[in-house]
Amino acid sequence: MDHRSVDQAFPPEPTIRQSAAILLAAVLMAVVTAGCDGETPTTPTDTTTTTSTTATVAEATISESFSGRVAVGGAAFYSFTVTANGTVTLTLTSVGGAGVPNTVWLAIGLGTPSGEDCGIGSSVNTASGTTAQLTGTYAPGVYCARVWDIGNLAAPASFGLTIAHP
């Protein structure tokens, strides 16, 4: 039996000094890592700040006149820019034309220009008059006023619309 080959297959027993060194290392690691508290990650919290604001509603200071023509079953619109949060009013001041009684009702509306038309947000059916028929409060931006036939026209109608806005 070759004793040398057996000695090479099994590593020698650690000496007492080596064992002491390993034990010392283990103790030191335990001491160092003992300071690590097992904190779990906290979930960030969202802070919601509630602010109270009072919106100022500006009065209409600009008046624009839109004179147009509505075909039978048709519509027309006019774009304008509101520069401050405030009141916008529409007044259908006149409706007329050959074969169109001046008492005929049309629809008027306020909205936002979209595509080739005006996307309406609010509207009212009305005859012409001298007081505003449609009022709303709008933030600064680009808007449009639209006039259209609601099925009452037998011939194209001319109209006058006054748009007042800040």
């Binding site: 000094r17 080596q18 002491a20 060194a21 390993i22 010392l24 290392a25 030191l28 690691m29 160092v32 890592t33 300071g35 690590c36 508290d37 904190e39 990650p41 906290t42 979930t43 960030p44 624009e64 839109f66 147009g68 027309a76 619109f77 006019y78 774009s79 304008f80 820019t81 936002t112 220009p113 979209s114 595509g115 080739e116 931006g141 680009v142 449009c144």
Partner: protein
């Protein structure tokens, strides 16, 4: 024994430091989205047409006059038209960035616009001899 002590000390030195990191806030990655519109309309002789759109966030808009053709025969017309970005005003679109161009497969007009309502306008630049059927492809954020 001193050598073994130094070895043990060295082993402990490589132990990673305790993490005391503060929680990080989750980050939000916003992927910009764009809208592409192909606007097909007929520009009358000496006239114009426009299309309104809403830019949701400030960014770059671009337009390409894709085709100009006869509305009757459909034959292509080698006629330049005026194309512009602007703001709807009254019964028109008040152009702010203009270009006069022939139809081509490439961006002919690009600019930056703030969020809000804008419009793209196509108009006869004085070269039309009759109405023209046009297609404009434009992109906005």
């Amino acid at each position: 024994m001193r050598r073994e002590f130094l070895f043990a000390l060295a082993v402990t030195a490589v132990v990673p430091a305790c993490g005391d990191d503060a929680p990080t806030s989750p980050s939000t990655t916003t992927v910009p989205t764009t809208t592409t519109v192909t606007y097909v309309t007929t520009v009358p002789l000496g006239g114009s047409r426009f299309y309104s759109f809403t830019v949701s966030a400030a960014g770059t808009v671009s337009a390409m006059l894709a085709s100009v053709a006869s509305p009757i025969t459909g034959a292509p017309l080698a006629v330049p038209l005026e194309m512009s970005f602007g703001t709807p005003a009254g019964t028109d679109c008040a152009g702010e960035q203009f270009v006069t161009t022939d139809a081509a497969l490439g961006i002919q007009l690009t600019t930056s616009l703030p969020a809000g309502v804008h419009c793209l306008r196509v108009a006869d630049a004085g070269y039309l001899r009759d109405a023209a059927r046009v297609a404009v492809r434009f992109t906005y954020p």
